[in-house]
């Protein structure tokens, strides 16, 4: 399966090729969806080694259950759903509490920074630290929406939450980010 823009295959064509025994077709499925899967796995699973096993597990499940895919959603959404459920099952089995607040010393002393360019550059780093403090589900939704451009409806499918709840969680997550940032830094810094 080539990934030339002119030859981008539809989900149905890709799945048909996998059923036809073409090993490269499934490699394409992985390449197309690994960004989305990484967003989910990184936000929900704290340990790197576990992430590797889980990523493998997700795609092996997707491969073996591909026959159950009904084309009622995008293939990436279906695989995202497998990823989310696999992470949740893993967390339930391990009974992990995975929210580890970062060290307070990691915060740069922005009060002394006046150059807005430096502030702009640092903002994404600061925001990342601040995002890491959010509940894992909020982090996952933020990552899916802002980085993977997943729609509300698709996020609802992935997480099995109502669409309204997904929207509400996203709004709350951004509000928490804003309040945390404003409480730590001067308003002008933003």
């Amino acid at each position: 399966v080539r990934n030339h823009p002119a030859q981008i295959l539809t989900d149905r064509q890709l799945v048909d090729q996998v059923f036809g025994g073409n090993p490269h077709a499934f490699a394409s499925v992985i390449k197309n969806t690994e960004g989305l899967v990484a967003q989910i796995v990184f936000k929900l699973i704290p340990d790197g080694e576990d992430r590797k096993d889980i990523a493998q597990d997700i795609y092996l499940k997707a491969f073996h259950h591909l026959g159950r895919f009904r084309f009622q959603s995008k293939l990436s959404t279906w695989i995202g759903q497998i990823a989310y459920n696999t992470c949740i099952s893993w967390l339930e089995k391990k009974k992990l509490v995975f929210v580890i607040p970062p060290n307070e010393n990691d915060w740069p002393a922005l009060d002394h920074q006046t150059d807005s360019t430096i502030l702009k550059k640092e903002l994404s780093g600061i925001l990342r630290s601040e995002t890491d403090r959010l509940p894992p589900l909020y982090q996952t939704l933020i990552g899916l929406y802002h980085l993977e451009e997943v729609s509300y409806a698709e996020m609802a499918q992935i997480t099995s939450l109502p669409e309204g709840t997904v929207k509400n969680y996203l709004f709350r997550a951004r509000k928490m980010l804003k309040e945390n940032l404003l409480s730590k830094y001067k308003k002008e810094a933003l």
Binding site: A27, E34, L181, L190
Partner: protein, 159 residues
């Protein structure tokens, strides 16, 4: 101009798509310095979130997964016929129950006289209770065994 400050949700909504906001709210945002500060904060947050680095695995996922797949695996798409097959699993279950009933009924019919002598001294009501309850308990046990088996497989995520 709207006197009360719009909610944070409306601020975010405005940053995402200002054309979709009611004119009164937009008018408020134009005149209110507090709301403008909030909008500026959200704009910075949205911009930074959209530009932040996406997570990525530090290993080749495709190579790892493909190496774990059996070399000659052939996947069979689930067609409507296979759906019928899964729907037919109920028929299969009924078949087993029917077979159990037959296996119980045949010896009861063949050995009816012996059973009659065994229960000759007991009241008819007790006989009916024993013969009625025993198959029910047996059926209940079989169903619960089957359910626990399904649950265990479910926990292993293979269903």
């Amino acid at each position: 101009m709207t006197e009360a400050h719009p909610s944070d949700m409306e601020l975010q909504h405005y940053v995402q798509d200002e054309t979709d906001c009611p004119p009164t709210v937009v008018e408020h945002f134009r005149r209110c310095a507090d709301c403008q500060a909030g909008i500026a904060a959200y704009r910075s947050i949205f911009e930074a979130l959209n530009q932040s680095l996406a997570e990525s695995f530090d290993f080749d996922v495709a190579a790892l997964v493909l190496s774990r797949l059996p070399p000659q695996v052939t996947l069979i798409p689930q067609t409507s016929s296979s759906n019928r097959r899964s729907g037919g699993s109920w028929l299969w279950k009924y078949g087993i129950v029917a077979m159990i009933m037959v296996l119980i009924t045949i010896p009861v019919c063949l050995l009816w006289k012996n059973i009659y002598y065994v229960f000759a001294g007991t009241s008819g009501f007790l006989v009916y209770v024993i013969l009625g309850v025993f198959p029910l308990v047996l059926l209940f046990k079989i169903v619960s065994l089957y359910r626990s088996y399904r649950r265990q497989l479910g926990i292993l995520n293979y269903l």
